[in-house]
């Protein structure tokens, strides 16, 4: 019981709040900013859970790369003020009800079941340092890394094919 304990719950609360904000914002840029906050608080939690390397990657790659990619697209597609108006038109409260109920029920079922667990396991925050992660990653999971490479290659080729056409045809216009 200490600071980290408290920190966990605060971060969790922040993550949840900002996640909700992120999915409900009308302005795409705002939403992305909220998402970044979510990611940051998750990074904090990672750190608390004893995974500093994951926390770093969360910030570097997720917040740093993926969200930025999103932002590029948002800007490229020019989702400005008009899109905000459109979003408010699309986001009718009536539409929220069923999804909300479904999510709620899922959560209740999940929660009820998990809470039935007796002698629950505690996370002591044992730190697994990056070095150890690296060792295992490039030893036991070496082939996994290779496969991740192929995965990225596939994504690269795919994104190239899909995106290139766009560029070329714009040039033609």
């Amino acid at each position: 019981m200490g600071l980290s304990f408290l920190l966990f719950y605060i971060s969790a609360a922040v993550a949840i709040t900002t996640a909700i904000m992120a999915v409900t914002r009308k302005n795409a840029s705002h939403a992305l900013i909220y998402l970044v906050v979510t990611l940051l608080s998750i990074a904090v939690i990672f750190f608390l859970l004893g995974a500093p390397f994951a926390a770093a990657l969360e910030i570097v790659i997720y917040a740093g790369a993926i969200v930025v990619l999103f932002l590029f697209v948002v800007m490229m597609l020019n989702l400005g003020r008009s899109s905000v108006a459109r979003e408010s038109q699309w986001l009718r409260p009536g539409m929220w009800v069923l999804p909300a109920i479904l999510s709620g029920v899922l959560f209740i079922v999940f929660g009820y079941t998990v809470l039935q667990t007796e002698n629950s396991a505690m996370i002591e925050g044992q730190v697994v340092p990056p070095k150890e992660v690296g060792t295992v990653l490039f030893h036991e999971y070496l082939l996994g890394v290779e496969l991740a490479g192929v995965l990225l290659l596939a994504a690269l080729v795919g994104a190239f094919h899909l995106g290139r056409r766009y560029l070329e045809e714009r040039r033609e216009n």
Partner: protein, 485 residues
Amino acid sequence: MKLATMFQAGLPYLVLTGGLLVVMIGVAIKRTHAVAAVLTIVTLIATTLSHIVAYSALGDGAVQIDSMFKIDGVAYLFNILFLLAALVVAFLGSEFLNRRIRFKEEFYLLLLCATLGSLVLPAAVHFASLILGLEIVGISLYAMIAYPEKARPPLEAGLKYLVLSGVGSTALLFGMAMIYAGSGSMEFANSLPSDGSIEGQYFYLIGNAFFWSGIAFKLSLVPFHIWTPDVYHGAPSTVTAFLATVSKGAVFAVVLRYAIEGNVLDSGNVQFALSVIACVSMVIGNLLALLQTNLKRLLAYSSIAHMGYLLIALLIVESNSALGYETLILYLVGYFLMTLAAFGVVSVLSMNQEQELDSIDSVCGLLWRQPIAGAVLIVSAISLAGIPLTIGFFAKYYLFYAGIDGGMWTLIGALVVGSAIGIYYYLRIVFTAIKRPAEDAEAMTGLPWTGLGILAFLGLCMLVFGIYPTNLINLIQNVVQASGF
């Protein structure tokens, strides 16, 4: 395990990856469709042949590579099956690209990537390799589905598949995380909580629920089936053929291994849930196809049902894993042949068209207008319906045998009901194909000979294996036994 053995056992993977790189470099140097196509086909053939060399490395049993892979004869059988399917897709695709697509070469890269991903799965014994293999196939497919430049359906299909597959994958991942949290290992063999504590059990159970939901999505089983027709419909038929065969087969291969090594079905609850899914898939899939007028959608719904049938092979592994593998492989051989043939026909017929000829009316009188394609379509429909003289019958026979062996009478009942409904719409295809063609039906000329040749070959295979499957069955049985099941 000696490194040399591992390399020898992993030779197919190396060849394929090497080929992939060669094709990529080739494309980078000079974009020539013919070269890319030939290189791809050569790669696929070489990979297929490399299994012969690699097989001797297995000795009596399996080669374990790290904790992620376990290469055995069964995996090789799957591999060869997937490779041959990919080869068919490559042949069909080359014609398709040639006639309808402006930028062709990337397709081969994506196809090879997807094939590699699918080869990973049968040998995977670890959640990491499972998800990576699955996603390689998935990512490649997103792009392949949306490959044509101008039309809207492929794009729509690609997007739908991407979004929904994303949801499915997250469910899968979340499930894996929970199983891992419960059991402490991501290897299939150790994924069952060993101490049997309640805590582990609950995490394990919820994890499995999420996990199987994700898998059910990938296999398009009811109630996660709903995306299937749209994606099959929107994608170019060539890609649909790959999607419907290899991506499904690979998932089945891996979950079968998970079920065997992880003893998942020891849990009555999971077994129950899967049985229910199987039953409703068989019935609902067929019902959905009943009056469908779009050939591709119809085949999509029917594939839902077929995946339901195949769950029998999965459920039997608890009591008789060898039979489960045998059933799965034989059924997949049949299913691959007939599905490839069916989508192949659509693909070949649409070669010269702007839009795909996928309405069932467009195959009206096909047997008379285009005898080879018509005959193959009829044979594949009959085979899908599970009627003798075709491999589909033996496939269905295996299911019955497996079902009875496992005493799964409810499933057999659903299988009978499903097949009964199925006959109706498969016969509708047959009937349409043999109908007198409409007066104004345009002649179908200029269809590619490669495509027709491939179709004829597939049709012939269906018939030959449908009459004398002995060699095939013996091969499968021997390999399964040699792999220690």
